[in-house]
Structure formats: structure tokens, C-alpha cells
């Protein structure tokens, strides 16, 4: 496996995603002799995982079973160990398209955080692009380097442990795109511009607060960036389920018996005790949903 290339069989050293049902997933590092406990029982890596096909059903010790999935940046995003607040797939998708990322793109990112977006960027820019990512927190920077190595994408990424607002990205004139997810992005706009190619590029800044957005937009305009646009994208999940709605009893119909017999036909036989009811297949919204993640501000650096 690799996060940038599919393979069919699970191998020693892979990261496999165990799907426990009901959209509950967990990441497992596959190692000879290792075991993983799940609520369905234990998974023995040597026999249950290694050399099995990705996507296969694995029976655990208690007779329960799970599916083992090939890692993708999207699955990693929902299973990764949080060291910071992370970007989720909905925002990542928008960032990727609006920054015009594709194979070969050179991207600068800060901060690296937990590496949720980094993995998605690496997937998109492989096999010829490169990611320069800056994280000022030493422990986080070291941890993410380790993860990139484990996920076999380390040849595509350089992690720098420095303060992007003071020291920039460590590269100049190479980037097609810059992504900022830091508390004071306006302080990094100058460095972002310097990191970008002479021929121009795209910039994105992610901020939860509108005051941050305002300062960033001002800094972007002052530095001569164009097409400054701020937007917000929200995911709405629809739960598919059947719903039964009762029909009121209007009493006996003196004219004809057609309406009552029709209702009886539609009602399932089991509901005979009840008055007539109708079953529809519809979706219901979740009781609560994330209402705000962050504002995404995009801009274009013109040719200089």
C-alpha cells in the first residue's frame, strides 16, 4: 500500500483501515505478530491481515467480523490521531480544486498540524509534485515526518520546523499554490507571495473567525494579490430511512367504498390493527451538524 498508489494485498508495514460498521473506522499499522483488539474480538495480523486482499471481510475471535480497507487520504482524515484541530474532507475538496492542484504541482503549506490536508495534497500532486510544509511546533513536525515515512510519501514532502510568519516557507519562487491554516495568516502573506512562482499562483487561507478573514483580505490586497474571494462550504448529510405516516380515519364513506379499499391496499397487512398508514422512503437530517468550520479565502498572485 501507499497513500498515492493502490495495491491489492495487505503487506507487513502497511496502514490498513478497519471498518467496524456504522461508519466507525480505525487505522491499524500492520505488523507480523501484532494483534488489534476490536469490539468484535481480536485481529491477528499475521493470519488475518497479511496477504489478504484489501476490502476482504475478516472474522475476529468472538465471531464478529470487520472489513479491511485500503488507506486513502479521506479515510486517514477520519482515523488519524489528532494533535491539532484538522481540516475535513469537505473543505479539503474545495481547497484542492480552488488551488488548482494536480500532478506536478508544487505546494507550500503551514501549519502542518496533524497532516490531514497534507495527505490529500500529496495524493493529488504525486508522482511529480512536491509539498513544502512548515510546522513551528517541534514535536508535531517530528511526528508528521514519521507518518509520511510510514505512509511511503516522504519522497514528495519536505517538513520544516520553523515559524512561517517570521521565516517563511524555506523556499522562494517555486510554488504553484500556498495554503495557510495559522492564527495570523496576514503575517505570512508576504512570505506566501515570495514562495510562489514568478509566473503566479493561487493562495488559500483558512480561518474560523471573520476578523481574521478581514485582516487577511486587506493584507492580500495590499500585497497586490487579485481575485480575492471568501467562501464557506458546509456538508449536509442525509440519513436514508423509511418513515411511516398514519392516515386519519374520516369515518365510513357513504358514497362509495373505493377510497377506503385503496387505503387498505397501500397499507401493509401487518398494520391492519392500526388505521391506514403510508410508508415513505425519505431522508432525515442529523439532529445536529457542524454549522461552521472556517472561512476559505482564495486569491491569485499575478505574474510579477
Amino acid at each position: 500500500m501507499s497513500f498515492i498508489e493502490y495495491s491489492d494485498l495487505i503487506q507487513d508495514g502497511d496502514v490498513a483501515i478497519v471498518h467496524l460498521g456504522h461508519n466507525s473506522v480505525t487505522a491499524v499499522k500492520v505488523q507480523h505478530g501484532a494483534q488489534t483488539q476490536t469490539r468484535f474480538g481480536v485481529i491477528r495480523h499475521s493470519t488475518d491481515l497479511i496477504s489478504q486482499r484489501y476490502g476482504s471481510k475478516v472474522t475476529c475471535s468472538k465471531g464478529g467480523w470487520v472489513h479491511v480497507l485500503h488507506p486513502t487520504p479521506e479515510l486517514w482524515t477520519v482515523t488519524l490521531p489528532h494533535r491539532t484541530q484538522i481540516l475535513y474532507t469537505t473543505d479539503i475538496a474545495m481547497v484542492t480544486m480552488m488551488l488548482e492542484l494536480k500532478p506536478g504541482s508544487v505546494v507550500c503549506e503551514s501549519g502542518t498540524g496533524s497532516g490531514s490536508l497534507s495527505h490529500a495534497i500529496l495524493r493529488t500532486i504525486a508522482p511529480t509534485g512536491h509539498l513544502h510544509t512548515v510546522e513551528f511546533h517541534q514535536q508535531r513536525a517530528e511526528k508528521v515526518v514519521e507518518e509520511f515515512k510510514e505512509h511511503r510519501v516522504d519522497h514528495l514532502v519536505t517538513v520544516r520546523n520553523q515559524d512561517v510568519c517570521k521565516d517563511g516557507f524555506g523556499v522562494t519562487g517555486v510554488a504553484d499554490a500556498v495554503f495557510l491554516d495559522i492564527p495570523s495568516p496576514w503575517e505570512a502573506v508576504g512570505h506566501a507571495k515570495a514562495a510562489m512562482k514568478k509566473h503566479g499562483g493561487r493562495l488559500c487561507s483558512f480561518s474560523p473567525c471573520i476578523e481574521q478573514v478581514q485582516r487577511t483580505c486587506q493584507a492580500l490586497t495590499e500585497r497586490g494579490l487579485e481575485e480575492v474571494r471568501t467562501l464557506e462550504v458546509l456538508l449536509r448529510v442525509h440519513n436514508v430511512r423509511p418513515v411511516t405516516l398514519q392516515l386519519p380515519d374520516f369515518g365510513p364513506d357513504s358514497d362509495s367504498s373505493s377510497s377506503s379499499s385503496q387505503a387498505a391496499e397501500e397499507a401493509p397487512p401487518s398494520a391492519a390493527a392500526n388505521p391506514a398508514s403510508l410508508k415513505i422512503r425519505t431522508t432525515t437530517p442529523p439532529r445536529e451538524m457542524p454549522g461552521h468550520t472556517g472561512y476559505l479565502t482564495f486569491a491569485t498572485k499575478p505574474r510579477t
Partner: protein, 470 residues
């Protein structure tokens, strides 16, 4: 200097390039051809002059042609405002605040006055302008600028721009697929270099183009198409290098059943299908010609035909010529069919392994049968994503997949997109937002377990589903 030019070579606009014209938030994709006039925002423009300039250059439109504008950074300050009111309590709408008449403005335009000069005239002749608040003055100038602006920017096409353009100009052609929804599809589908992706789309080729951009020429894309041939007008807009087309394959959806049953014969002739395809082929060829620039080429093919008909001399000569033409046409058709058969065999070979890495569906067809048919070509543990303008069709897909098993992580979603105006003391969401960008059903395939068809769902929920079916 020479070195500098080499450096810029790939960023320069060349003849034959597919470009995107931009003014404000309006885009239009065109191909650069010598002496070809295109209409953009109610103006005719000639693109000859843009060749050789850098992408991203803004041009001012002169009479009939385009010219490079001067670096006009001072225009921002030229309409500087000094006097401003604090509120609008004394501003009365009597319709007489503007002293200039429509005719006056037309004359100024004819005299070839610069847009900034016209705007300045409008301001000078507005009796209420100085009483307006600073914000209202800004808004007034912005509005007038938009109206009298006479510039166009030439951009290199990208998925972002083309998806935005299609959504703005021709949403009907792309099943109202909004660009943020397309972005979700590419990410949920884990589209990346080196994979083998199946696509079924009737979005003018936009979705296909977006996928090809993300794959960068690495791997393979198999377009499953309905009718006589794939529609790829949208792909053309991207202006991909020729080697990108080597990764692109096509397979008619009407042969899927045969392929699944193992009865598809790509070597021998299949007369019935050939005739049907031949008909489609001609229709599709014409259609494809018209589609990219429907506005301008409408009259094209018919005109030519009329000319050849009326231009004939003697009856015999006409007859001979007609026969010749028919023969040539038949020959051409034969070659095309042979080519088509070869392509079919290549695509079938890719599909036969049933080991595709991704499936993307976005069409005006009911997605259920398409999904259930095509998902069989995927390897286990691969993502798929289905777009539909309507939620109900995806509810049915969801239900069928749950019944049949073989998938996990099923999600029915849509996204909500909101743009913001960010200005000092005037930050708020834009007044207008898109009502709906369609719905997505996404999930991951897993190995099918034949002994327990509905093993996907935990017991209590499965009970519910069964109830509803009964």
C-alpha cells in the same frame, strides 16, 4: 532578453490554444484561431492580437480587435472622492439627479472616451453624488465601472475555471452540477495519478476533463457512454496535451451486459450493432461539431451542403460526383468503424479484469441501474461516487446497495456554498447564493460475500429495511 523569453515560453498564449476569456465573474472558453471573431459579453472580439502575450494579461477592447492595455494602476485613484455625506435623509429620488442624458453618454462612447473618463463625467454630473455616504459612493463607482468596463482577461483553462464557467453559463448542460459538488466528487473518488477510473457522465465532458486533469496523464480513464459516442466538448476546453488522450478510453454502455456475460465479441462483425452504431456515429459526429461553440457554428454544416448541391453542372456529372462522394463516405465510415472496433477491444480488455480503482457517475439518466451495472467492474476497497440532481434517485441507489451488499461507508450528502463580501465595515454573506448544486452518494466497495447477501447491516436495522420492502 532571449533567455527571459525562453523562460516564459510555456506561459505564452499560442495560436490554437484553448483559452478562457474573463470579465468580472463571467467566463467563456474559446480556441484561438486567426481572424476568428468571437462574441463575449455582447461584444465582438478578434483574438489575433493576444497571441504571444502571457496568460493572465488583461486586454482593452478597441473597435473589433484587442489591444494590450497600459499598466493602469492609477485608475483606482483617478476617481478619488473627497466630499461625502453621512446619511441619506436629504436624498430624494426625483429621477433628475443625473444631468447627462442617454444620448450624451452614447456620444461620449462614440468619441472613444476612456471608461474612467465616462465614469468621471457621470460623477461630475450627478447632483446627489457628493451627498452620498462614502460607502454609497464606492458602490456607485463600482457599479458604473462594471457597466462601462471594456476589458477582457485571457486565462489558461483549469478545472476551477471551467467548472465555474459551465455552472454560470450552461448549468442545464451539466445537470446543474455546481463546482463545489464536482470538487467533492474528485476527492471522494480519490482521483489521482496512476489509477484506473470508470466514468459515466452526460455533463458535456466537464466531469471527464476534471478527472483527466487530476490524473495528469498517468493511469487510465474509461468513459462509458450512452448512444452513439461520447460527448467531450467540455474536455476540449481544458486544452490537454495530446499525450493525455492516450490514457482515455471509451466503451458503449449498451455493450456492458454483453461484457459482463462474457459474450462480447470485439473481433468479429456484429452487423446489427454496427448498423445502429453507424447511425449513431454520423449523428454523434455532427452533434460534436456543433456542441463546442453552438452559438457560432449553427449554420456551418448545412450551408456547405447547400453549396455543393446547387453548384453542380450537367446531370451526369452530378451523378458521378454523387457516387464518388458516397463511395468516399462509405470508405470513411469503414475506417471509422474499424477504429471504433479497435478502441472497443482496448477498453474491453481494461474492463475485463474487473479491477478498476474508481467509479464516477454524473448523468441525466437514472443512476440506479448505471451504478449497479458498473460497480461490478471495481476492485474491492475502492471508492465510488454518484451525482444526481435529485435526491430521490440516490435514495433508491442507497437502498439497493444496502440490499445487495458489497459496499460500506455509504453516504448521501450535498454541500452548501456561501460567498462573502469582505470589505472594511461592510462584511457580510453575498445576497445571492446558489439554491442547490445536486446530491452525491459515495461509498467504498468491499469483497462480496455470497452466503449472506445482506450481511452489510447490523441485525436491527436490517429488520427495518425488510419491513419496508414487504
Amino acid at each position: 532578453m532571449a533567455q527571459n523569453e525562453d523562460d516564459d515560453y510555456e506561459y505564452r498564449i499560442k495560436e490554437g490554444d484553448h483559452i478562457v476569456l474573463k470579465r468580472g465573474d463571467v467566463y467563456k472558453a474559446v480556441q484561438i484561431q486567426r481572424k476568428k471573431k468571437v462574441i463575449f459579453e455582447k461584444q465582438w472580439i478578434l483574438l489575433d492580437n493576444v497571441v504571444g502575450h502571457l496568460y493572465g494579461t488583461t486586454f482593452e477592447i478597441a473597435s473589433g480587435g484587442t489591444l494590450q492595455p497600459k499598466e493602469d494602476k492609477e485608475t483606482e485613484s483617478s476617481t478619488d472622492v473627497k466630499v461625502a455625506g453621512t446619511d441619506n435623509r436629504n436624498i430624494v429620488d426625483d429621477g433628475k439627479s443625473q444631468k447627462l442624458t442617454r444620448d450624451d453618454i452614447e456620444t461620449m462612447k462614440e468619441q472613444g472616451l476612456k471608461n474612467e473618463e465616462i465614469i468621471q463625467q457621470l460623477i461630475d454630473n450627478s447632483s446627489t453624488f457628493n451627498n452620498k455616504t462614502g460607502y454609497a459612493q464606492d458602490k456607485y463607482i463600482k457599479k458604473k465601472k462594471k457597466k462601462y468596463e471594456n476589458t477582457v482577461t485571457v486565462l489558461k483553462p483549469t478545472c476551477r475555471i471551467i467548472a465555474t464557467m459551465y455552472h454560470g453559463r450552461e448549468p442545464g448542460k451539466i445537470c446543474h452540477l455546481r463546482y463545489d459538488t464536482l470538487a467533492q466528487m474528485l476527492t471522494l473518488g480519490n482521483i489521482h495519478a496512476g489509477s484506473k477510473v470508470l466514468v459515466f457522465e452526460t455533463c458535456a465532458g466537464l466531469v471527464l476533463g476534471a478527472i483527466m486533469e487530476r490524473m495528469g496523464g498517468y493511469g487510465s480513464v474509461i468513459q462509458m457512454y450512452p448512444g452513439g459516442g461520447p460527448v467531450r466538448a467540455g474536455v476540449e476546453c481544458f486544452g490537454f496535451p495530446t499525450h493525455f488522450h492516450d490514457m482515455l478510453h471509451e466503451f458503449p454502455i449498451c455493450r456492458v451486459n454483453a461484457l459482463l456475460a462474457g459474450t462480447l465479441d470485439t473481433s468479429a462483425k456484429d452487423p446489427a450493432a454496427d448498423i445502429a452504431e453507424e447511425k449513431h456515429l454520423n449523428a454523434a459526429a455532427e452533434q460534436e461539431q456543433i456542441q463546442p461553440e453552438a452559438e457560432q457554428q449553427e449554420g456551418g454544416p448545412t450551408e456547405e451542403r447547400m453549396e455543393t448541391n446547387t453548384g453542380g453542372g450537367g446531370k451526369d456529372r452530378e451523378k458521378v460526383e454523387r457516387e464518388k462522394r458516397q463511395e468516399a463516405k462509405a470508405q470513411e465510415r469503414k475506417v471509422k468503424l474499424e477504429e471504433k472496433r479497435r478502441k472497443l477491444a482496448a477498453a474491453a480488455a481494461l474492463l475485463e479484469g474487473r479491477n478498476a480503482d474508481g467509479l464516477v457517475i454524473a448523468s441525466q439518466y437514472h443512476p440506479c441501474s448505471v451504478l449497479l451495472g458498473l460497480i461490478k467492474f471495481l476492485s474491492p476497497s475502492r471508492p465510488f461516487v454518484v451525482f444526481s440532481q435529485f435526491k430521490e434517485t440516490l435514495i433508491e441507489c442507497y437502498t439497493k446497495l444496502k440490499e445487495q451488499g458489497g459496499t460500506v461507508n455509504l453516504m448521501l450528502t450535498d454541500t452548501w456554498l456561501r460567498h462573502y463580501q469582505v470589505l472594511p465595515d461592510r462584511t457580510h454573506p453575498l445576497l445571492l447564493m446558489s439554491g442547490g448544486g445536486g446530491y452525491l452518494l459515495s461509498g467504498t466497495t468491499v469483497a462480496t460475500d455470497h452466503s449472506e447477501p445482506a450481511a452489510e447491516e447490523p441485525a436491527p436495522k436490517r429488520q427495518k429495511v425488510k419491513d419496508s420492502e414487504g
